[in-house]
Symmetry: C2
């Protein structure tokens, strides 16, 4: 199997920076494609393609207006992402854990130094 399609879910769709930018722009309100093209400095076809992906995961919705197509944001599919990351909020703000980790690392380094001289992973 290859990598999951970008249209699989919001996680995949939003992994692409340009698509995040598009959503950010749409957060300001409904916009026609050309507006986005101008704002993104991307070629029109690519923008349309990104919009397609976003549409397929439900992150944007379209509305016809004359010869324009007005895209609007629908943030709902972002919820799973939010819910998932939010659970980690404590983890990165927890400096206590950090302390434990530092202590363990020191202990580990000592042990390595006893055996050999410097391992330097990564």
């Amino acid at each position: 199997m290859a990598r999951a399609a970008t249209t699989t879910d919001a996680f995949n769709a939003v992994a692409e920076p340009r698509r995040r930018q598009i959503l950010d722009l749409l957060a300001g309100g409904e916009r026609p494609v050309n507006d986005l093209v101008a704002a993104l400095g991307l070629a029109q076809p690519q923008v349309s393609k990104h919009l397609r992906v976003l549409r397929e995961v439900g992150l944007v919705e379209v509305r016809d207006d004359g010869r324009q197509r007005l895209y609007r944001l629908n943030a709902t599919p972002l919820r799973p992402i939010y819910d998932w990351v939010r659970a980690y909020e404590r983890a990165w703000s927890a400096r206590f854990d950090r302390l434990d980790m530092v202590l363990e690392e020191l202990k580990q380094e000592e042990r390595n130094d006893e055996r050999d001289g410097e391992t330097d992973d990564r």
Copy 2:
């Protein structure tokens, strides 16, 4: 250009469900690879590969313990994701917007019905 590497940033790394699972498991504490292999029901090499990606974006850290390698979570790189999605929190909880959208859609459908009979996009 092809799709951005999974190791580009946390957004890309975390787009893969298995990697999210791994992080979820590590949230419970440090674990050796085989533990994860068992928990995930995946082959060991694939787990190691996923761990590599996570390591490269800084989401996990390793520590040698005898012949095992203990992986631990480092949630910090998740922050950008959190910060980005959080901005949309209001968007999906805002039912007012919904109302506007529904109204506009109705208006639009009427207009379409006048012109032709049913377009049914998507």
